[in-house]
Amino acid sequence: MDNINVLIIEDTPEQSDALSKVLIANKYNIVGIARSYTEALKLFYEQTIDIIVIDVFLDGKPDGITFAETINIIPNASKPFVFLTSSQDRQIFERAKLTKPFSFLMKPFNELEILYALEMAVEKFYEQTNVFFSEDQNTVIGNDFLFIKKKNALKKVAINDILYIEVEDRYCNIITEKEKFVILISLTKISALLDANKFIRTHRNIMVNSNKIEEIILADNLIILKGNHKVNLSNTYKDFIKKMNILS
């Protein structure tokens, strides 16, 4: 599991310092602090970013909104973001509201509030609401990452790193090459949200990342994955083999 990369766009150093302190304390990774729109855009392209915290007013101008609008336009580039604002001016809100997904946090805010806002931003961005705060779920499935709430910290796992997923009751065991951990999500939901061509059901409670398959031993009903992980293959789910391009 990796930490979440956060880009902070904030022109006041005291505020950005306080913010980054809070975020680092909560195991977030600050990839950069931008003071202006151009700087923000530069960092946005240079760094791998998971969440952006944007101050609406940069140097007295609503450049934060402009930035959000910019990344909204660029296809497939947009990331979850949170606006920070101390003004409840309706006009600014009417403009900011048009950026999707729109979430904001009023200044001043405390530690809990910023963490809540970041998590909400991720939920809204991937359109999976009420995940992190419900008791039966703690994972939002993004395009490239799983966002997992472990205790009070938000973590991520690259989907490409996953070897296979083993479902156990309300939990799922995620097995990567390096580690193994448990997330809270139902099988139906995870199978609906994951790419069906990538993750293949091989057993009643096992989904395998097809890219990680090394060998399929039909005789033993076994699948050998990278790192020599062995997974059972049940007869019911053997059909997937027909769909695969087999080199022989």
Binding site: Q88, D89, F93, N110, Y116, T129, F133, S134
Partner: protein, 585 residues
């Protein structure tokens, strides 16, 4: 000589008289006959398509000669020769004859074709016209033509008139024997009919016949007969002529006495005739006068009518105008009333807002001022303490300062939100909110305060409760309520937040404290629906009115409700109800 001269003169006179008298008589009888026989003939004719002819004939029958002339002329102008044109020529001839335009009459009559069914009538007319033109030979020719064709019962021409006319013509041609023959033929027929006026003429004619031949003995009895007959009839003209003839005859006989008597009688009849004429003239004049008078009256009436009409029109239009004015007036009045109502409403609202503003100022001036002032004095104390390096007290002061700053800040925040709400400037966006997290976040800010008062805080809100509200307004509500709860709690008190699920679509959030509590009156006061801020009960409970007012409005805006259960000195339960997030994803 003189007597001879007189006789000739009288003869001429009588002749003249004869002629004059002769024609009206003929005409009179003729006219009647025409109306009967020609009407019958006209009825049989088909002239429906000939408008002019139908008009001409109807005017003819009504004896409106001028109109007859005009329409028959029109008919002839466009018409090809046929039966109708004969009628037209005939009408025109007759009309001209009556108008005494004999040459024209003769011309028209000659244009009537030989086929015309009333040939006798035409010839008779031609005879009469020729007589009038003194063309006696021609007249006799025409009359004889009639005589040849006529039968004794002819309706068209009275045979005795015909004989009489022939006789007169012969008389004029001095063919006395023939004249005598025809006149006596006529007499024979006329005596049977016994029409006085006709007889007088005939007698006079016979008398003249003899008298011209100087057969006075034979002439005089006829003159006498005519004279006697003239007494019986009413015509002054006949009487006058008869008496004049007698006077002339007696004079020529030398019977001057009788002649004088007759002459006198003649004068009398002449006067009568003149009188009659005069009377007629006067009557005519009177009639004309009356007519003009009447016309004048009519004109006056017309003018009066016009005047009345214009008056009526004027009245009508002025009535309409007044009505319009009235409607406009009513409309304007209604508008005014409406406007004044609106203005009144606006005024009330303005008054209310003004009162709110005043309260705002009082809050700012009193509460905020005192807070900041407290901070100021505390700071002075702080710097004084700093010199003595009493760190324990220093710490105490700093905590106190931050408390004051916090309360001042929350007051300001409330003020701002309240102002935004009042001016409808507040941004409001409902979304799914995790209630537990929010309560936690609110509590986080109050941790020092809770610690300071040693108040136990408990958040037992269900972790699965998601409500659909505007996050910031919810925070304001919770902040205010927690602030109040802390404010009214005693040391070592307990404040707990928990949820209840009584209704399917709502969550109830309960904020319970073990503080001072309130009486019913205060609760009522707090929950009273009003734009105005509730009056503060205690001076030390800073800004309570504003905070509660704000809470109520925010809750209402979020589609929730607020209830308060409280007991004095035991604690307060504030129950908020918020709509759940709809579960569909």
């Amino acid at each position: 000589m003189t007597s001879k001269l007189q006789t000739t003169m009288s003869k001429i006179k009588t002749n003249f008289f004869l002629l004059i008298f002769f024609f009206p008589l003929l005409l009179l009888s003729q006219e009647i006959e025409i109306s009967t026989s020609i009407t019958d003939a006209l009825k049989k004719l088909d002239f429906k398509n000939e408008k002019n002819f139908s008009k001409a004939q109807s005017f003819y029958l009504k004896r409106e000669w001028d109109s007859t002339l005009i329409y028959s002329m029109k008919e002839l102008d466009k018409n090809q020769k046929n039966e109708l044109s004969d009628y037209c020529h005939f009408f025109r001839g007759h009309c001209f004859q009556i108008k005494k335009l004999f040459k024209e009459a003769k011309f028209e009559m000659n244009l009537v074709s030989k086929k015309f069914p009333f040939r006798n009538l035409v010839n008779n007319k031609l005879g009469q016209i020729s007589t009038e033109l003194n063309e006696f030979d021609k007249a006799i020719y025409y009359f004889k033509e009639v005589e040849k064709r006529i039968n004794s019962n002819s309706k068209e021409v009275k045979i005795y008139d015909l004989y009489g006319n022939i006789g007169v013509c012969f008389l004029h041609l001095k063919q006395y024997e023939k004249a005598e023959e025809y006149l006596f033929k006529s007499l024979k027929l006329q005596e049977k009919k016994n029409v006085d006026s006709d007889l007088i003429t005939l007698y006079t004619n016979i008398a003249n016949l003899y008298y011209v031949q100087y057969k006075d003995q034979q002439a005089i009895p006829y003159f006498k007969k005519a004279y006697i007959l003239s007494k019986k009839i009413n015509s002054f003209q006949s009487k006058k002529n008869a008496s004049q003839n007698m006077a002339v005859v007696e004079e020529n006989r030398g019977n001057f006495k009788d002649a004088l008597v007759y002459r006198k009688e003649f004068d009398q009849w002449k006067d009568s005739l003149n009188n009659q004429n005069k009377i007629w003239a006067v009557a005519d004049f009177e009639k004309k006068f009356a007519v003009t008078q009447k016309q004048k009256q009519i004109k006056v009436l017309e003018i009066e009518n016009q005047l009345k009409n214009s008056q009526r029109n004027w009245l009508f239009f002025s009535a309409i105008g007044l009505l319009l004015l009235l409607t406009a007036g009513i409309y304007l009045y209604a508008q005014k009333v409406k406007n004044s109502k609106i203005i009144l409403l606006q005024k009330n609202k303005l008054d209310e807002l003004n009162a709110t503003k005043d309260q705002l100022f009082s809050i700012v001036s009193h509460d905020l001022r005192s807070s900041v002032n407290a901070l100021k004095t505390s700071n002075t104390k702080l710097s004084a303490t700093l010199e003595t390096k009493n760190y324990d007290e220093l710490n105490q002061l700093i905590i106190q300062n931050s408390g004051i700053a916090n309360s001042a800040y929350s007051l300001l925040d409330n003020l701002l939100h309240w102002a935004l709400l009042q001016t409808k400037q507040l941004y409001f966006h409902k979304e799914s909110v995790h209630l537990f997290s929010i309560v936690q976040q609110i509590e986080y800010n109050y941790k020092p305060l809770l610690l300071d008062k040693s108040i136990t805080f408990e958040n037992s809100v269900s972790k699965n409760s998601f409500i659909f509200v505007d996050l910031d307004s919810l925070k304001i509500v919770l902040r205010n309520l927690l602030d109040n709860a802390i404010k009214f709690s005693n040391e070592e008190g307990k404040i707990s937040f928990y949820t209840q699920e009584n209704q399917p679509a709502f969550y109830q959030l309960v904020i319970e404290d073990t503080g001072l509590g309130m009486d019913e009156k205060t609760i009522k006061e707090i929950l009273k629906e009003s734009e105005l801020l509730a009056k503060k009960g205690k001076s030390e409970t800073i800004g309570t009115g504003l905070g509660m007012q704000l809470c109520k409005q925010m809750i209402k805006k979020n589609g929730g409700s607020i209830q308060i259960e409280s007991e004095l000195h035991k604690g307060t339960k504030i129950i908020l109800t918020f709509p759940k997030t709809e579960q569909n994803g």
